[in-house]
């Protein structure tokens, strides 16, 4: 354990140092201009202190982001409109609903493509083409269109998230359902297994590792999708709305805090999926 910990800590420390250096360098000009206008001539140490504690820096220092994270999560009630917990929950719920819908669609598509030969040629190109449309262009159209139909709030965002995450699941699942080799399939045939038994007892278990790989990619994509869906319509809440508001008002620290919150959210969700994957793998006797 400690043998793994040391390199990780070293790299982390290096990155943080680099970040502080970058913050000083990038904020230097802003601070220098302000000071010059005020007629002040601060020394080197004062300049460093000022660059690392600017209210609207080009690049906030790590401790400023941590401070903002702490303030907007721990010190505010979760019902507050400025609470990051509140915004994170809004994004999380949309991402999770979208993830659920995307998973269902992805798995169903994969099952259909694997079992119905005609669908392979007719459906697969559309599935692939769907991902060539940039979600940034698509999101506003979908949000506005659904808004016109009276659909607002969570569902349109979930649909954007689902749109992004059905793809890796469908692709992984198609590969997984096709993983059993001819001998494994012939074996089923010698027992006169029904197509349903072939699916439940051979194809599905064989596809689980592929499914989990897809789920992990999809989970991260669902969070991105939910955030992107919060950008266009002037959403009131959510990490995306936080990002947008921060950039309107030049609140770089708020932007970075929202970014870090999004990263923590994704990492936690993907980590949870990884734990579920390991539990399933253990039950299925995979080598450690």
């Amino acid at each position: 354990m400690s043998r793994n910990l040391l390199p990780v800590l070293t790299i982390c420390a290096g990155l943080i140092l680099l970040w502080y250096g970058g913050a000083i360098w990038m904020n230097w000009q802003v601070v220098a201009d302000t000071q010059a206008r005020a007629g002040a001539t601060p020394g080197l140490m004062d300049m460093v202190r000022l660059t690392l504690n600017h209210a609207r820096p080009l690049l906030p220092a790590p401790h400023q982001i941590l401070d903002e994270l702490w303030r907007s999560t721990a010190t505010l009630p979760v019902t507050s409109r400025r609470s990051l917990v509140h915004h994170a929950w809004v994004t999380l719920s949309a991402a999770l609903v979208g993830f659920g819908m995307g998973t269902a669609v992805g798995v169903l598509l994969a099952v259909a493509v694997v079992h119905i030969r005609a669908l392979e040629r007719s459906l697969m190109p559309w599935i692939v083409a769907s991902q060539a449309v940039p979600v940034l262009a698509l999101a506003p159209i979908v949000i506005v269109a659904l808004g016109a139909m009276g659909l607002e709030g969570l569902l349109p965002k979930a649909i954007i998230a689902a749109y992004l995450c059905f793809f890796p699941i469908a692709i992984g699942m198609v590969k997984g359902l096709r993983a059993p080799d001819a001998m494994a399939r012939d074996l089923m045939r010698t027992w006169s297994a029904t197509p349903a038994q072939m699916f439940w007892k051979l194809r599905l278990p064989a596809s689980l590792p592929f499914l989990f790989a897809g789920l992990k990619v999809a989970m991260a994509a669902a969070v991105v999708g939910a955030i992107v869906a919060e950008l266009p319509a002037g959403a009131q809440a959510g990490l995306g709305a936080r990002l947008l508001a921060g950039s309107y008002f030049g609140q770089t620290i708020q932007i970075w805090a929202a970014l870090v919150a999004a990263a923590i959210l994704s990492a936690t969700l993907v980590g949870a999926l990884g734990a579920a994957e390991r539990a399933v793998a253990r039950r299925m006797g995979m080598r450690a």
């Binding site: 001998m183 074996l187 006169s192 297994a193 007892k201 051979l202 299925m284 006797g285 995979m286």
Partner: protein, 260 residues
């Protein structure tokens, strides 16, 4: 004579491939009676696997006729008349040894409690008691192949089709498994069709040896080989054994099997 378990008449099979037709079997005539142990021997590519797969309804003849227990191979497959042992163990890696042996029973809708009991009995038969909860990768190659034999035996088919089940194993393990298989056969008197490349293995196990030759795959000789039910390994040193082995070798040579 009792109704043959397998009756092939002028059986032919042509594979259509991108490079044109491949004649895998031509004019195969073969009757196998209940309780016989038949070995198919011949050089690589002479159609042994193909013949076994036609019997198992995994491949369809393009000419002639074949009956399994007086029915079409498809009817026999649907009636679960046979167990098939492939050249590789092909155990499902996500199932324990017991889970693998229970799988055919599960597919046939046998109640859960009975499944476990029957699978355990079959595992005992191939000396794998105590390994029920292991996963395939925790077993040696020979143990995996034994587990796959237990799986083929699990629903107690009267006919056993085995495609080079011991091909990948070393001599010692192979001798041991040959003895076990012979015991099993002597005890149950199942009908066995057994593919092999090894002359001693064929002579040791069989009641009749079918010699095949390639291009196109056909039967060139059928050799009687009844050494009795009780065959210790030492029987391989007897003149009777060596005489039969010699005849098989000549049969293989006559089929131009080994182009030297």
């Amino acid at each position: 004579m009792a109704e043959p378990v397998i009756a092939a008449r002028d059986l032919s099979l042509v594979f259509t491939t991108r490079d044109g037709p491949v004649q895998a079997l031509s004019n195969v005539n073969l009757d196998i009676a209940p309780g016989e142990f038949i070995s198919l021997i011949g050089p690589s590519g002479c159609g042994k696997t193909t013949l076994l797969r036609v019997i198992a309804d995994l491949e369809h003849a393009t000419g002639g006729s074949i009956a399994v227990n007086g029915r079409t191979p498809e009817q026999a497959r649907l009636a679960r008349d046979y167990g098939y042992v492939f050249q590789a163990p092909a155990l499902y890696p996500w199932r324990t040894v017991l889970g693998n042996v229970m799988l055919p029973l599960e597919i046939m809708g046998i109640p859960r409690a009975e499944r476990a009991a029957r699978a355990k009995a079959q595992l005992a038969l191939v000396n794998l008691s105590g390994f029920e909860r292991k996963f395939p990768w925790q077993l040696s190659g020979g143990m995996q192949q034994r587990a796959s034999i237990a799986r083929a035996l699990a629903f107690e088919p009267r006919l056993l089709l085995m495609d080079e089940p011991f091909g990948a194993l070393d001599e010692i393990v192979r001798d041991h498994l040959n003895e076990q298989l012979l015991k099993l056969w002597a005890a149950t008197r199942k009908t066995v069709v057994f593919v092999t490349h090894s002359i001693p293995e064929a002579v040791f196990l069989s009641t009749r040896i079918v010699v095949m030759s390639p291009r196109p795959g056909r039967i060139t000789d059928i050799i009687d080989c009844d050494l009795g039910l009780d065959r210790p390994l030492e029987i391989r040193e007897t003149p009777e054994f060596l005489r039969i082995a010699q005849r098989v070798r000549e049969g293989l040579r006559a089929g131009h099997s080994y182009d030297v």
